[in-house]
Symmetry: C2
Subunit: 144 residues, 2 copies
Amino acid sequence: MSANSRLTIAAHALAWIGLYQRQGHEVATSEQIATSANTNPVVIRRLLGELRRAGLVESRRGVGAGWSLARELGSMTLLDVYEAVEPGPLFAMHRTTPDQGCVVGYGIQPAMQRIYEGIEQTLRHELARVTLEDVLRDVLAAPR
Amino acid sequence: MSANSRLTIAAHALAWIGLYQRQGHEVATSEQIATSANTNPVVIRRLLGELRRAGLVESRRGVGAGWSLARELGSMTLLDVYEAVEPGPLFAMHRTTPDQGCVVGYGIQPAMQRIYEGIEQTLRHELARVTLEDVLRDVLAAPR
DNA sequence: CGCAGTCGTAACAACGAAGGTTGCAACAAG
DNA sequence: CTTGTTGCAACCTTCGTTGTTACGACTGCG
C-alpha cells in the first residue's frame, strides 16, 4: 500500500498550532510548522487548506498572518482529520470491470464492497476515539 | 490514499480457484483467472506467487500445470491474504525526520506510532473475521 | 527425445498519487 | 507604500502499481 503520511503531517500541524497557541501566540505560520515537520511550507499550506475547508482551522492573511485552530483540540478527532485529508476508500476494486459472464467476476465486486464497507466503518470508529488533545498529550509525554 | 486493488484481486483469484476445484478440476491456470479478472496473466502469477510464499496456494509446472489451493477456503482469512500481499503499514510517518529540537517534532512519531499500531490491530482483527469461504458464498449469492 | 503448455521472473513502459519547488497575485497591518 | 504571509497554479521528481513482452525452466505425453 502506498503508505500515506498526510494524516501524520496534518496531526503534526494541528498539535503544533495548538501548543503554540497555549504558549500565548495568536497564529502560527506555515513556515514555522514546515520547519518542525521538516518539509516545505507549501505542503503545509495545502494540507491546512483542506483542514480549513473542513472547519478545523482558520487562516488570516496580510502582515502578522497565519493559522489558528477553529475548535478546541479536544473536540477534534483523527476521524475529522482523516476525512479532511484522505479522499478515497481504503481498498479499491478492480481497475477494469471483471468478466460479467463469469460467476465470480459478476459477484465479486458487490461481495467485496460489502466487506470493505464494514471494515472502513470500524476504522472510522477507531479514528473517532482519538482526539487531537490525546495526540498532543502523548507528544508532550515523550521522554527527553 | 493510492487505492490498492491487490487484496481484491487476490480474493478474486482464490475464490475462482476454489469454485473451479469444486467443479471437479484439478488446477486453474493464470490465463483463466486473468480472463475472469480482466487483467494480464502475469499480474495474476505475481500475486499468486506471493500467496504461494504464504502457503495459501500451490503451483505445478509443465504440461497441465496451474494453481490449486493449499488449504480449504474456510481456513483462509482475508488477514492471511492481506499479510501476503500488502507489505507496509497502513499509515506512514513523515518521509523525512521531523525537527528533533522541537517538542512536537520530537514526540510526534512515537505518539502516532502507538495510535497507528492500535488501529492496525483492529483492522487485522476485522480482516481475520472473514474467511474466503465467506467471500465465495457472498459471490455466489449475487442475484443474476 | 522432442514438443507443447504453463509457470517463474526479469525488464521496461504507462500511469497516477504525493511531495517538493518556484513564482506570483492577493491581502492586510502598520 | 512596504512588508510578511496566505492562496494557488504550474511543474518536476519520486515512487508504487499495473500492464506488457520476452524468455528460460519445467514436465507430461507421444
